[in-house]
C-alpha cells in the first residue's frame, strides 16, 4: 500500500516523514513539492480575481474566485435538497401504497420513479460513467487491432491511411451521424441503456480509439530483433509469442496511448453532451448558459474547474496504473 501511495510524488515525503526517515529532508521536500505549486495557484487566483472584476457581461460581472466558491456550495446544497425531496417522494408513495394495500390486499399499484431534475453531482456521475464506458469500448477494440497491425506490416499499410483519415475528425462532426444511426438501429422495447448514453458512448469511442491503436502498433513493431530471435529459437507459438513477448514489451507504449485516449475521451464527452443535450456535465453547462440567471456564469465556472480536476485525476489514475504494470521501473513517467 505505502509503495503504491509513494507513486504519488507529493505524498512520498509525508509517508517517509511519518516513517521517521530524515525528518528535516522530508520537510524540505514537502516545501518543494507543496509550497511552490501553491504559490503558483495563489498567483493565478489573484490575477483571476483582478481580471474578473474588470469584465462586465450581460449576466453581470465575470465570476471571480469568491463567486465560484459560493456557487460550489450552493450546488452541493441543491443536491442535498433534491435528495431530501426524493426521499420524501418515495416515502409518500410508500404510505399511499400501504393504505391501498390495507383497504384491498389484492390492489395493484406501480412504483413510480422520482423524476426530479438531475443535480450537478448527478451530472458528474453520468459523465464519469459515460466516459469510462466509451473508453473501455474503445480500448477493447483498439488494443487487439493495434497488436495485429503492429505484428503485420501488410495489415498496417492497409489500415494506416484509414486511421490517419479518421483520427483528426472532431466529435461534433460524428455526432449527427451517430445520433441518426443509433436512433435507427438501437430499437428495443426495454432498452438496457438510454439512447443518449449510447450516442455519447459511441462518439467518445470513435474519437479516442486512435491514440491507443497507433501507440500499441508502434510499441509492438518496436520489439527488438533480439527478443524476436529468442522467441524464434524457443519456437514459441503465436499465442505464447503475443502473451509472453509482444504484450509485455509494448505495455509502456500502450499506456502512453491509453492516457492520450482517456484525455481525448473526456474532452470529447463534454462537447458531445453539450451539443446533443445528452445528460452529463456538458448539458449542465449548456443549461446554465441558456438559463441566464445572475448565478449562471459562476455555476458554469464551477463546472469548468470540476471538468479540469476530473480530467487531471483520470490522468493520474492512468499514470498510477502505468507505473504499476510497467516493467521498466527506471523509466521516468510524467
Amino acid at each position: 500500500m505505502s509503495r503504491m501511495l509513494q507513486n504519488i510524488s507529493w505524498l512520498e515525503p509525508w509517508i517517509l516523514m511519518f516513517q521517521g526517515k530524515n525528518v528535516s529532508t522530508q520537510l524540505a521536500n514537502i516545501f518543494k513539492s507543496l509550497a511552490i505549486p501553491m504559490a503558483g495557484i495563489l498567483a493565478f487566483v489573484f490575477i483571476w480575481q483582478g481580471a474578473a472584476n474588470s469584465i462586465d457581461t450581460s449576466l453581470g460581472k465575470f465570476p471571480g474566485p469568491t463567486q465560484v466558491y459560493q456557487q460550489s456550495f450552493s450546488l452541493i446544497d441543491e443536491h442535498k435538497q433534491e435528495r431530501l425531496k426524493e426521499v420524501a417522494f418515495y416515502k409518500r408513495q410508500d404510505v399511499r401504497n400501504a393504505k391501498k394495500l390495507a383497504k384491498n390486499p389484492d390492489a395493484k399499484f406501480k412504483v413510480r420513479p422520482y423524476t426530479g431534475k438531475p443535480t450537478f453531482l448527478d451530472q458528474i456521475v453520468t459523465s464519469l460513467v459515460t466516459v469510462m464506458a466509451g473508453f473501455i469500448v474503445a480500448s477493447i477494440i483498439a488494443i487487439p487491432v493495434g497488436i495485429m497491425i503492429g505484428l503485420n506490416a501488410g495489415l498496417y499499410s492497409a489500415l494506416n491511411p484509414l486511421i490517419q483519415l479518421f483520427k483528426p475528425i472532431s466529435p461534433l462532426a460524428w455526432l449527427p451521424l451517430v445520433t441518426m444511426v443509433v436512433s435507427a438501429l438501437y430499437v428495443s422495447k426495454d432498452p438496457m441503456f438510454a439512447k443518449s448514453f449510447v450516442t455519447s458512448l459511441i462518439t467518445v469511442s470513435l474519437c479516442c480509439l486512435w491514440p491507443t491503436m497507433l501507440n500499441t502498433a508502434v510499441g509492438v513493431s518496436a520489439i527488438t530483433q533480439d527478443m524476436q530471435n529468442v522467441s524464434k529459437v524457443l519456437r514459441l507459438n503465436f499465442f505464447t509469442h503475443v502473451t509472453k513477448i509482444v504484450l509485455p514489451s509494448s505495455i509502456p507504449m500502450m499506456f502512453t496511448g491509453l492516457r492520450l485516449s482517456l484525455g481525448i475521451a473526456w474532452m470529447v464527452l463534454i462537447a458531445a453532451e453539450m451539443l446533443a443535450q445528452n445528460p452529463g456535465l456538458g448539458k449542465f453547462v449548456w443549461d446554465e448558459f441558456q438559463n441566464g440567471s445572475s448565478n449562471s456564469l459562476g455555476r458554469i465556472m464551477v463546472a469548468v474547474l470540476v471538468i479540469g480536476v476530473i480530467g487531471f485525476i483520470l490522468d493520474r489514475i492512468m499514470l498510477m496504473l502505468q507505473r504499476k504494470v510497467s516493467w521498466d521501473k527506471n523509466a521516468i513517467l510524467k
Binding site: V230, R235, S249, D328
Partner: protein, 286 residues
C-alpha cells in the same frame, strides 16, 4: 576423429542490397564432432555472426546447408540454443522466469512441475545465480545477466550451444571469471559449443579448435588451429606455457599479418599528408 555431429557444408549467403546482392560468406565448410568446443575468430564484419545465425536457423544459407546428426536444419529451434551477445533476457521477467519460459517450452509434457522447478534451479546454480533467481535483469549486473542467458541456453539441453560473443560486452575481470565458469560447466556437461569471439586469449583458453575466418566480403574459413592443451586448463599456469603462447602467436599472426585489416599507421599518415598537400595545391591554383 570422432563422428561428425554438426556439419556446415559449403555454406554461402548473399544479402540483397540496393546495389545488388552482397556475398557475405563463400563456401564455408566445417565439421564439428560431439562434445567439441569450437571458436570462430576473425575481424569484425567478417561474417562470424552470420555463420552462427545460419547454424541457429535465423538466416537461411543461399547455397549449402547445415546438418545436425545427419539432418538438415534451416529453422530456429531449442536444440541449437543461442547465447546472445547482449544477453537478450526479457526485462519483465525475473531470472527464474526467463529460464522457466525456455524450460516450459522445451520440456512441455516431459517433465512434471516439480521436475521443471528443480531443473531451472539446477541450471541457475550451475552459473552461480541461484542466489538472485527472483531478480529482474535491470537489478543485476551485466555479467550476471550473461550468466542467466547461459543458464537459459543450457536449460534447453541443446545438441549444440551457440554463443555469439558471449563475453564481449563485459569488463576484463568479469569476463575471466565467466570464462572459468564456462570451462567448469563444459568439463561436467561436455556440450558441443560454437563460440564467436574476437578475443585471442579467450579462444585459445576455451577451445578445442579455433576456426580463423578471412576478411569479408565473401569470407570463408582461413585456417583451423587445433588446441592440444590438457584440460582442465588454468589461465595462470598457461600464461607461461610455451605451447599456449605458440597457439596465441599463431592466431595473432593470422589476424594481423595474413588478414591484416588495420592500415599501418605511418603509411596511413603519409597518405593523409599527401592528400592534404594535393588539396592545398589545387586550392592555390584555383
Amino acid at each position: 576423429m570422432a563422428k561428425t555431429h554438426l556439419e556446415i557444408s559449403d555454406v554461402s549467403i548473399e544479402f540483397p542490397t540496393p546495389s545488388g546482392p552482397f556475398k557475405a560468406l563463400d563456401a564455408v565448410d566445417l565439421k564439428i564432432s560431439e562434445g567439441e568446443f569450437v571458436s570462430l575468430i576473425g575481424h569484425s564484419g567478417c561474417g562470424k555472426s552470420t555463420v552462427l545465425n545460419i547454424v541457429a536457423g535465423l538466416y537461411q544459407a543461399t547455397t549449402g546447408g547445415v546438418l545436425l546428426d545427419g539432418r538438415e536444419v534451416n529453422t530456429p529451434g531449442p536444440e541449437r540454443a543461442v547465447v546472445f551477445q547482449n544477453h537478450s533476457l526479457l526485462p519483465w521477467l525475473s531470472a527464474y522466469e526467463n529460464v522457466e519460459l525456455a524450460v516450459k517450452q522445451v520440456f512441455k509434457g516431459q517433465k512434471s512441475k516439480a521436475e521443471m522447478k528443480e531443473w531451472i534451479e539446477y541450471n541457475l546454480s550451475l552459473v552461480h545465480m541461484d542466489h538472485a533467481m527472483d531478480k529482474r535483469p535491470e537489478e543485476i549486473s551485466g555479467g550476471m545477466k550473461q550468466r542467466v542467458g547461459i543458464a537459459r541456453a543450457l536449460a534447453m539441453e541443446p545438441k549444440v550451444l551457440l554463443m555469439d560473443e558471449p563475453f564481449g560486452a563485459l569488463d576484463a575481470l568479469t569476463r575471466a571469471h565467466l570464462q572459468d565458469s564456462l570451462m567448469g560447466i563444459q568439463n561436467d556437461l561436455k556440450n558441443t559449443v560454437i563460440m564467436i569471439t574476437h578475443d585471442v586469449d579467450e579462444a585459445v583458453l576455451l577451445s578445442d579448435r579455433i576456426v580463423m575466418m578471412t576478411n569479408g566480403p565473401a569470407a570463408t574459413v582461413g585456417e583451423i588451429l587445433k588446441i592440444e592443451l590438457e584440460r582442465p586448463r588454468n589461465r595462470l599456469d598457461l600464461a607461461d606455457d610455451s605451447k599456449y603462447n605458440h597457439y596465441r602467436h599463431e592466431v595473432l599472426r593470422f589476424l594481423y599479418e595474413k588478414q591484416s585489416k588495420v592500415q599501418d599507421i605511418d603509411q596511413h599518415r603519409s597518405k593523409k599528408k599527401a592528400e592534404s598537400e594535393v588539396a592545398e595545391a589545387t586550392k592555390a591554383t584555383a
